[in-house]
């Protein structure tokens, strides 16, 4: 999956720290490099800074300390005011939010998926084509004329991802994509994400769901409750480090799991 030589860095963070307006800490002194076509999972308990980091990577929040570079360029508030840079950046990076309702802001599913391509500057015909293709890919043709408030939770997540994918971004940032989904929808979503990963997209997923980590990632960054990155390595290694997982509140003392290769899973009963 990954080529022999390291690919160009997509994101570079240098001691980045972000604190919210009301004083709450977001992330603290994060040093991070993400290369193209990597599949990274940001793992941490609720409130440990994963969502904040994603927003920093997407140029929605700007750290008070430290530096952020994307595609080799500095990512700053003034920089994104420039229409040309902003458009180019937004075309390359797609963000799926945790709360679907904030993300689905168009009148119908069709318009939602069309929003991205339209604002990127594609013509009407191209937009229609893309929307049709994306609807087919996600199996959403049946609901294309429906308003968002008439969609189920699973459908909303699909539409959100579909809307982001319509601009064919190089990078996908996903905030808790499988939270609250029933098993079948979760399976569909994970399969789609795997497809995107195989086609060369960079995936950065924030989650606290340990069961999905191995499918989504080649590399895991663990966030501690102090909002720092406390570990960075392959999923198999980190997930079997129960002491680490306990320390960062990702598991409770009664949790246990078995690491497998691939996605094979079966249930055990222990004494």
């Amino acid at each position: 999956m990954s080529s022999a030589e390291p690919l160009a860095p997509v994101f570079q963070l240098d001691q980045a720290s972000y604190r919210y307006a009301d004083g709450a800490l977001g992330v603290r002194e994060v040093d991070l490099v993400i290369h193209a076509q990597e599949r990274v999972v940001l793992l941490g308990a609720n409130g440990s800074g994963k969502s904040t980091l994603l927003k920093v990577l997407d140029g929605l929040l700007f750290p008070q300390a430290g530096r952020v570079r994307a595609f080799g360029q500095a990512l700053q508030e003034q920089g994104l005011r420039d229409d040309g840079f902003s458009r180019a950046f937004r075309r390359r990076v797609g963000f799926v939010f945790q709360q679907s309702d904030a993300q689905l802001f168009s009148s119908t599913v069709w318009e939602e998926i069309a929003f991205g391509p339209l604002h990127m500057g594609y013509g009407d015909a191209e937009v229609r084509q893309r929307v049709a293709d994306v609807l087919a890919l996600f199996g959403l043709e049946g609901v294309q004329d429906r308003p968002p408030f008439r969609l189920s939770g699973g459908e909303k997540k699909k539409v959100a991802l579909a809307a982001v994918v319509a601009t064919n971004p190089a990078v996908l940032l996903l905030d808790e994509p499988t939270a609250g989904l029933d098993p079948r929808t979760q399976r569909d979503l994970l399969d789609l994400l795997a497809q995107f990963g195989r086609s060369g997209k960079t995936l950065v997923t924030a989650t606290h769901d340990l069961d999905t980590v191995e499918e989504l990632a080649d590399r895991v960054l663990v966030f501690g409750e102090d909002h720092r990155v406390v570990a960075d390595g392959p999923p198999a290694t980190l997930l079997s480090d129960t002491a680490l997982l306990l320390r960062v509140n990702l598991i409770d003392p009664r949790f246990h799991t078995h690491a497998h290769d691939g996605t094979h899973r079966h249930y055990h009963i222990h004494e």
Binding site: A102, F105, L118, D124
Partner: protein
């Protein structure tokens, strides 16, 4: 936070066994229930509208811009026509339009005339009587040979329903009915997304239309949140809520709702930015006029002339 703390004694004890008395028949719905019902009705209206707008009727097939301009113009006609006969004919023609557009006539008439009679009828009722407006009596209700005086006030010698009062009231009722019918015809036969696109023809800036569109989208989310808040309060309802506390609750609900609204708007803004939004809203697609639209415009022009002219001839 290690280890389980034991439950306090009162939680371990069996709950007090108060008898479940048969609930009395409470005729008055309290403010909580009324609000929840009002919100549910709003949802129903919106869903019903969308369903009707999808039916293959006469008005549904028109270009929404044409529909908007012609129907608004007809409301203007309704506002100009004076003669009662013309107004009546106009209203009948609108009912015919509703029927041809596959709108359930009973529901349409109830929705339009129910509201009109209830609201306007009540408002206009006092103006029928001589006490409010003098005029030629049509139906005398009370007549005294000499006027009575009570504590310095002179009671009117005659109370009657005036001809002018009846004419004015009927005129107002028919006019309001026609306007409401036209507005209902417009909104019930046009899908919301298309309706907003139609407004562009009135030279309303697209930014404002984008605001309306987004507002409509999130309206239902806020309505749902509010309904949940009121229902949650209802589930903890013990006895009646005193008015003062009720007002405080509603105000707190509004405050909470504003907090959520402000936060949500920031999230939506982020989401829009992340998808390339830069402050200028865009939309896809051009609406095209068809032959049936031109035919309709011609028809409406003729009908308007007919009613206006007929008005002049009759009145």
């Amino acid at each position: 936070m290690g280890g389980l703390r034991p439950l306090p004694a009162w939680l371990r004890a069996p709950p007090p066994r108060a008898p479940l008395a048969t609930p009395g028949r409470s005729s008055k719905r309290d403010f909580l229930e009324r609000t929840v019902r009002a919100i549910a009705a709003a949802f129903e209206t919106a869903l019903f509208s969308e369903a009707l707008a999808g039916r293959p009727g006469l008005l549904q097939g028109l270009d929404p811009r044409v529909k908007l301009v012609t129907l608004l113009a007809l409301i203007g006609v309704a506002g100009t026509v004076q003669h009662l006969g013309t107004l009546l004919g106009f209203n009948l023609w609108l009912c015919w339009l509703a029927q041809r557009s596959q709108l359930p006539l009973g529901a349409f008439v109830t929705r339009v005339w129910g509201a009109v009679l209830l609201f306007t009828g009540v408002v206009v009722l006092p103006s029928l009587f001589t006490v409010v407006r003098p005029g030629t009596p049509l139906l005398v209700l009370y007549q005294a040979s000499h006027p009575l005086t009570l504590a310095g006030w002179t009671l009117p010698g005659e109370v009657a329903i005036t001809r002018e009062g009846v004419a004015a009231a009927l005129r107002l009722l028919l006019r309001v009915g026609a306007s409401v019918s036209l507005a209902a015809l417009l909104t019930l036969t046009t899908r919301w997304a298309l309706l907003l696109k139609a407004f562009r023809v009135l030279r309303i800036p697209p930014v404002l239309l984008a605001v309306v569109d987004l507002a409509y989208r999130y309206l239902f989310l806020l309505l749902q949140t509010s309904s949940d808040m009121f229902l949650a309060r209802r589930s903890r309802l013990v006895g009646r809520v005193p008015a003062r506390e009720a007002r405080r609750f509603v105000a707190t609900a509004m405050g909470t709702l504003w907090g959520k609204t402000a936060a949500l708007s920031a999230e939506v803004h982020s989401a829009m930015l992340a998808r390339g939004y830069a402050g200028v809203p865009m939309a896809v697609g051009r609406l095209t006029m068809q032959r049936s639209d031109w035919v309709w415009i011609g028809l409406v022009g003729l009908i308007a002339l007919l009613f206006l002219g007929g008005d002049r001839v009759l009145g």
